[in-house]
Amino acid sequence: MIGRACIGLSFALAVWLGSAGRALATDDYTLPFYDPSISLSYGVDRDPRPCYQRDWANVLWADCNLHYGRVYDGHTGMDYPMPLLSPVAASRDGTVIDLFEGFGTEQFGINGNYVLLSHADGRRTLYYHLAQNGAYASVGKTVLAGQWIGASGCSGQCYGAHLHFEMRAVVGGRWAPVDPLYEQRFTTNPGRVPFLAAYLRESNSGTEVIKRYTTITHWVEFVNAGGRTWRNNIGVGRVLLGTWNPPTRNSAFSAIDWPSSWVATNVDQSSVPPGKVGRFTFGLHAESPPGTYDEPFNLLANSMRWFDWARLSSFHVPIMVMINTRFDDPPA
């Protein structure tokens, strides 16, 4: 018994010692992209000595070789390979303090395109190698975590399209790169993004047939596959169903229960934690002439961050408007 207790104590001590010197996990940043299949190629080298590399798992490599999935010597950020023009997201709420987007998307050279954010905790995040005109932000504007702020590219000293994501903090009075993976700064593990949904089912997956001048009710359910709780109140975490292609398009089928001409509804439940199902119920009112139509919708978080529509099974409602003989003339 005592022996087992000693072993347990030793293990606890070892764990504690192992974490000594390690920053407390705060989980306050999110991964800077939406695609959960994207994984790290090279992380931050936390050892300043040439040819000594300390990776995000605190493993020391006494060489100057590249260690895929871990680190390469002298690397100041985290590289995430992704196709050209992939969405790049703000890692945390912040303010855009600098950007450059003049280089070609695949222009190899000394310098590349980037967005630099400043955050409330005093840190900065840098999103590098972006595409030409790939900074979807402007200096001085505030952005929310998960907001789409850029398009990935391969500008600058880049070999294969990827995002170089770098976190900086003031160390000893100067800005220095830090390792958010080692510090456990991410809201979710690599591969989880804050706002992500998966299509589950809907009230009618076929064509909605609506008699002209009448309203029907439609609902759709999505699984919250991201790292943040969805809410239906105005404020942080609000998720709504809006028109798509193009976004915020005025819909010809908005019903009286729609909050606006492009917002069909907020999520029905007051909160939908990660892994749970959120339902969106809304009316479709037909004023359009008889015929066939198609209404695409997408989810929007925090009034700014659209979801990955493909993961919503490109949700859209095919609609057939029928003649209403009470008001319409019969066809000739």
């Binding site: 300043p48 010597d73 003049g102 280089f103 000394i110 070999y159 220095a176």
Partner: protein
């Protein structure tokens, strides 16, 4: 940067300057702590003109007397790497960018593959002989005034001294430097030093003495620095993106900085005449020429990567994978069928 960096000496790339950001960088620069490290030099070899022809690596040079100076049209061996998957503009850009510098004795420095992390440095001489140095990527190079050696920055940002006759290399400093590299008339090097070679921001301009191997910060304004070179009055012209927006060319004299020109916020590839009076740059595939004295800017039409003649009277631009020689008003004066065209060095005096 997501790629292998492999030097020819067994796949090891040593002494990547890993010290983060400008803290150590500035201190090291000012204190002269940037001494060379014991990094094994990359191997070098020399080959005769016959051997170059036999291995189909010979580089031909056609010299043209054009408005603005002598133009070198290079006949290069096939590129080491395929660029066929790249956009046409980028293919041309990389082909042209293989030219690095020319010396007054006719030697020419070429990067054997731009965008290739394992590209080497090729020196070719008027008699057809060559020297090759297996640098792990070439970010930039510049000949010393007498052409006896050149300074080169590799893909890891290290600074090397390359002997022109033999191609043998010795490390001058670990940097990292970005690849913008120019000699001053006093024999110092103007370099851009950054925390990271992959994301060189912020960066500062330093003056590096090859003899003492000490570096001194020239421009204390940290930023996204594109390039720096010396003007006739020994001041330094620094082209940089201004923190928060805009691209500026600054004239730095004894540590104090004054704006020479304010360019389009998306301006890239700025090129200055020797006296700094004219600045060409590209915005989204269109070339502009800025006149510093009047503050006016002329739109010269489509093109990329402008290179202003030493006297500013004309410029070379990339157009459709070829090189066009434009007058200062945009009139096309001549057209070369390849992108591998550059101005000859002005060492020895190009000025009238």
């Amino acid at each position: 940067m997501s790629v292998r960096h492999r030097s020819a000496n067994g796949g090891r790339t040593r002494l990547r300057a890993a010290v983060p950001i400008l803290i150590i960088m500035s201190l090291a620069s000012l204190s002269g702590a940037q001494t060379a490290n014991a990094d094994p030099p990359p191997p070098a070899q020399t080959i005769t003109a016959d051997q170059a022809r036999g291995s189909r690596s010979a580089v031909g040079v056609v010299r043209h007397a054009e408005r603005g100076g002598e133009v070198l049209e290079l006949q290069l061996p096939p590129p080491r790497i395929s660029t066929s998957a790249l956009p046409a503009s980028e293919q041309g850009r990389r082909a042209a960018a293989r030219f690095l510098d020319s010396a007054s004795n006719g030697a020419i420095a070429i990067a054997d593959g731009v965008g290739d992390s394992e590209a080497g440095l090729l020196l070719t001489f008027p008699d057809g002989s060559q020297a090759r140095t297996a640098l792990a990527g070439v970010a930039g190079a510049s000949f010393a005034a007498d052409g006896s050696w050149l300074a080169s920055v590799d893909a890891a940002g290290r600074l090397w001294r390359i002997e022109a006759k033999t191609g043998s290399a010795s490390q001058l400093a670990s940097g990292p430097y970005t690849g913008s590299i120019h000699f001053t008339r006093s024999g110092d090097l103007l370099l851009v030093e950054a925390a990271s070679i992959e994301a060189p921001f912020p960066a500062v301009v330093v003056r590096f003495s090859p003899e003492s191997r000490r570096a001194v910060v020239v421009d204390h304004e940290e930023g996204f620095v594109f390039s720096a070179f010396e003007l006739p009055d020994a001041s330094v012209a620094v082209t940089a993106h201004v923190f928060g927006g805009g691209v500026e060319v600054r004239r730095v004299t004894n540590g104090s900085s004054a704006r020479l020109a304010s360019l389009d916020p998306r301006a890239i590839d700025a090129s200055l005449s020797d006296d700094g009076s004219r600045i060409a740059y590209t915005v989204g595939g269109t070339v502009f020429l800025h006149h510093v004295a009047s503050g006016s800017t002329d739109r010269l039409g489509p093109g990329e990567m402008p290179r202003v003649a030493h006297d500013g009277s004309s410029l070379l631009v990339l157009r459709d994978g070829q090189t066009a020689l434009l007058a200062a008003d945009g009139t096309e004066l001549d057209r070369f069928s390849t992108a591998a065209v550059a101005w000859a060095s002005c060492e020895g005096g190009c000025q009238p």
